[in-house]
Symmetry: C2
């Protein structure tokens, strides 16, 4: 079986608790690594190179784009952001499961390049709960509510291409479900096509 780690792409609604989920997962279970983004924006107070970001100049970043060194990249508020392949691949080859927190459009670009990527989407337990969280139970202005709902709608665009839906109702339950799905992902056919090819070849040798 393929001994590489599993590449996990995690998306979800704002306020669904992605950050907390990942933090708790990594506290409770070994063998995980977070993907580190590259950016051209200046480091903020306390941000460390190769820990929070790989900080790059525009020239370096554009050079990396040319070399196809990113799974995906985008420009946002005048700065580049991207997911460098090298770090992710290095961690995977060490057997670590790499988590990449990213929105759906970026996730689908990764899936194209790595069909074995496991796409997980985190959601509150139902539409009502999500709506309550987004609308702030009537305490927000109609404009803010409208903005949030519309942004959440965008956040869910393309979710039908995902593999699993994580229902973050109880945090620890959700963490264990996520861990179990990732553990099982080792057996996905998409990442074991090598074994299958080997088996098929072996069967043909006899013909």
């Amino acid at each position: 079986m393929n001994k590489d780690g599993v590449l996990i792409v995690l998306s979800g609604f704002s306020g669904a608790g992605k950050g907390t989920l990942v933090k708790r997962l990594m506290e409770l279970h070994e063998g995980y690594a977070l993907s580190i983004s590259a950016t051209t924006r200046a480091p903020r107070e306390g941000e460390m190179e190769s820990v929070h970001y790989f900080f790059k100049t525009r020239e370096e970043f554009e050079q990396m784009i040319e070399e196809d060194a990113f799974f995906e990249h985008a420009e946002y508020c005048g700065n580049y952001y991207g997911t460098p392949k090298a770090y992710v691949e290095e961690q995977l080859s060490k057997g670590r499961n790499v988590i990449l927190e990213i929105e759906i459009q970026g996730a689908l670009k990764i899936k194209e390049q790595r069909p074995d990527a496991l796409l997980l989407f985190v959601t509150p337990k139902d539409a009502e709960t999500l709506r309550e969280r987004l609308t702030g139970r009537g305490t927000e202005s109609p404009e803010v509510v409208e903005q949030r709902l519309s942004r959440a709608g965008e956040e869910a665009e393309g979710v039908e291409h995902y593999d699993y839906l994580l229902i973050n109702d109880d945090l620890d339950t959700c963490v264990e479900e996520m861990h179990s799905i990732i553990r099982d992902a080792r057996f996905r056919v998409t990442r074991n096509l090598g074994i299958i090819d080997e088996i098929k070849k072996s069967l043909k040798k006899g013909e």
Copy 2:
């Protein structure tokens, strides 16, 4: 979340231990049901109606084909065999995980109709082990060996469309992996499109 049971389609190489695997899974874990095939062949000694098969006349079977009552059916040695939808759907709606043992071509027909079906393929741990089992370690005639290899090749045709590969090296390990994959399957996006639609609708109501 969708409370229905999971529809599991199990395929694999002859001699990979599918039968033993299913038997052990059902001994160790609750909530499973086996799909029951319909056939026009006569019952054999000890075979019971609605337990081993649904026994049908040719007329009844052809009537069922007309009514689109099968997930898939085929004629083999002058008799019809098929998988009636009604029994499977009834078990699923009771929350039972239904296991359907079938070869790949039939499995892919089921996947077309039920994209939420979980397709599992059982294999020995590597090509060598499979080859050893099929060739009988040199004790079989070249003709028998050739036939077996060729049949195994057919058995693997289309396996890249499956979801998970089960490596049946140690039986109890394989059973627990299978059970875990099935438990996690409750969270697959393909069977929770209802929740997603509901969430999307709820977000649109506010626009």
